[in-house]
Symmetry: C2
Subunit: 460 residues, 2 copies
């Protein structure tokens, strides 16, 4: 035992880039958690965003209400700066509820059109050809889907512990599936929702129109409905599906990122950005995706201000617009940073739900990861245990060419894909403490980055 | 970097009690997780227990149905042995729903009698004296509560990251509060529920009658109702509360622990016990408390059997009866082990809900903890990161004098005290994957203990 401890002591001394932590750091992090758990405003703010506004798809009236609400809320906290950044966003509208029916037994299936899908222009129907993977669909003979409906029935891989990995294995089918089906002559595309649970909630999400390919109406079925359809096809391979949707794409409209800043006392031009996205899909309330993320980013600034912590660098909270169907906000913010000649220290994004925080994924150099990992002992009392290579986030990804580390907040992932892009992503499914612990863990890491800075860029 | 790696290598060689893990261990653990996530029966079994039977307080008809169901279920899996162990249990019945009303404004409060509470024998009413802590109640002057109702309004400490620590700070008030109030002359005891969330669900739980002290009716108010009462008292300190309950304690009845075993191929008399408790409170469905725990214990045996894993030691799954109000099952099982001269290798209990597993608490020697901690790298791919000193569990605690380590399963604790002992502890609030990951992590640790054994007892 003793020998091991001695060696560990030597290791600590030898660790490159290790910082000497003061007792102050432990106390300040404890204060951050106490502030979040005892005086936190994240939960109340999320309730307002979800219940007073609700879903807020880019281009919608609700999205604009959300912009106004966000700006007013930020101003009410008296941060050093609050501003809007203009961004032109797509304006896709679902219209009247979709219908999906098996003609033979008149069974209605639970369905949502995919984002950017075209409408059916009346009803369309056709026989159904089922595929288990996008690759199988791509490999179908040319013309083999003429007049038919392609059905991509790929379940998420339940074996994967990190559900985002399982999502990664399916989301491509949603994005590219419709155009691949159209290339083979299909008149419509339906897919099993990218969700883990057997339930009746279809999961919408963005699809893409490949240039030069016909746009066909595209839908997600709930996992239960996809199962029902597959069972029905086994019994009757010739069954016909009838589909109806009323989606429409309007010209782009003006919208905004909403930004608040506590300006750095030593380095006002050096910025730590932390954000999430303000827009959401048009079903549910965007509570976990990504109401939780923006509200946590806001809460970090509130915690700093309320505790009288004066950051050395500017800490900037960004509510990005249009992550869900265009990422125009992320692009615009990066462009504006370039124009302003902001120097970034680091960027952090919370867009994996307001669940119990487990740690952080770092899209950055091995040096940076090693450096950040040395802080884990300060966060372990709060059950933060992950600090490793990984993806930062869709919106901060546009800051990639600043060369700084992009930090993705990693909450427990087990429940996210029960709710993601569904009518079930509502405030009631957010746990107050989980949301607060997330905000506090983000604030704590930002406190450390602000205090100690990030390493000089070294060759790896 | 390289120097650090080299030193880490030396460390591994020098670590006392460290085992050499084979690639096989990683693969077997992967197989265990795959079996639980892909072919798991835990969720379906829990549905049966919750929906076909429901709440199952010791001594109730439902508890007996649960015993029958459990025995049949275990037999259906074809384990080597299945048996019942007789245990006499208390038979307390809530009777007709309780009533709690503020007389002046006729406001009804959400209330449940505490377990073992006596009834009000008609209605009782009285002025209310509020206390913030059990200690404050104990310090009240003698006779100061004559004819009055004591109100213990102690919130759980939200600062504590481990919610079980916060529970520990309040549960004593529930157990001892009624008798302390009676000593000061109170005619009844009401308390703020031991719950973290602001909601309308009262949390019941056991209270104790101190010998030689009058038994007074005892109640828990929902957190919202406790808040309402406290606010009302500020406005009108003389307000009267009216209470009505219909509880009754009947003579003890015969019940059973239900036990299944896969008998060890090398050491049939050496036992690894893993269990939870089959009884629950009489509200809700005992889904997390502790349906999840028993079903996970059962799932471990199913996984071993289905994967053709032949344990060296006997692995025994125990559904303990009467953890909630008496712990008679835990006592009886320990007594029976002593009589049978079972030699225990280790014991594990899951009684903290079926949430995402985080690790294990070890009530055992430093040697044992160090030894078990060496296995963490095998479990870290599954986000298991806790292996430290802590409490094992109420039922396996009776195995303490065997001298073996008592292992408490530690899931994420943030949501448990939203549901604990309430009508809201229902199947719908259990997440399938979280339940399955818990079962797999338990099975994995048991696999390692079975394969490598536990250390010889050494002096620390």
């Amino acid at each position: 035992m003793k020998l091991k401890n001695k060696l560990l002591g030597i290791l600590v001394l030898l660790t490159p880039f290790s910082q000497v932590f003061s007792q102050t750091d432990s106390l300040n992090i404890r204060n951050i958690f106490d502030e979040s758990l005892m005086n936190g405003e994240a939960y109340g703010n999320l309730r307002e965003l979800c219940k007073d506004i609700g879903p807020r798809l880019s281009g919608s009236a609700n999205a604009e209400k959300a912009v106004v609400w966000s700006e007013e809320k930020m101003k009410s906290y008296g941060f050093d700066k609050v501003w809007l950044e203009k961004v032109m966003v797509p304006h896709w509208v679902r219209g009247k509820s979709e219908v999906c029916r098996i003609v033979s037994d008149e069974k209605s299936l639970d369905v949502l059109a995919l984002g950017f899908s075209v409408d059916t222009d009346g009803k369309i129907s056709g026989e159904v050809v089922e595929f288990q993977t996008l690759q199988a669909l791509k490999s179908a003979p040319d013309g083999s889907l003429e007049g038919k409906i392609a059905f991509l029935n790929q379940p998420m891989n339940s074996k994967l512990i990190d559900t985002f990995s399982a999502y990664g294995g399916c989301a491509g089918g949603r994005v590219a599936g419709p155009s691949e089906a159209a290339k083979k002559g299909a008149v419509a595309f339906v897919m099993r929702s990218v969700g883990l649970r057997a339930d009746d909630f279809p999961h919408t999400g963005v699809m893409a129109h490949e240039a030069g390919v016909d746009s066909i109406p595209s839908f997600a079925l709930s996992t239960n409905s996809a199962y029902y359809l597959a069972q029905s096809l086994e019994k009757n391979p010739k069954l016909k599906l009838e589909l109806e949707s009323h989606c429409k794409l309007y010209p782009d409209v003006e919208s905004y990122n909403v930004v608040a800043e506590i300006t750095g006392s030593e380095f006002p031009n050096k910025v730590i950005t932390v954000g999430g996205h303000l827009d959401s899909w048009d079903v549910g309330e965007g509570a976990h995706d990504d109401g939780a993320g923006v509200i946590q980013a806001l809460e970090i600034l509130r915690i700093f201000k309320n505790l009288g912590m004066k950051p050395r660098h500017s800490i900037r909270c960004v509510f990005f617009m249009n992550e869900e169907n265009g990422s125009r906000g992320g692009q615009a913010y990066a462009d504006n940073c370039r124009e302003r000649e902001d120097q970034h220290v680091a960027a952090m994004e919370s867009d994996r739900g307001g669940f119990t925080p487990r740690g952080f994924h770092i899209d950055g150099s091995e040096n940076d990861i090693e450096y950040l990992r040395d802080w884990l002992p300060l966060l372990e009392p709060y059950n933060i245990h992950i600090m490793k290579k990984g993806y930062g986030g869709v919106d901060i990804n546009y800051l990639r060419d600043t060369g700084v580390s992009l930090i993705g907040v990693v909450p427990d992932s087990q429940r996210y894909f029960d709710l993601h892009h569904t009518a079930n992503d509502v405030f009631e499914n957010v746990n107050k403490r989980e949301l607060e612990l997330g905000a506090a863990s983000m604030a704590s890491l930002i406190y450390l980055i602000d205090k100690y800075g990030m390493p000089q860029k070294l060759k790896n």
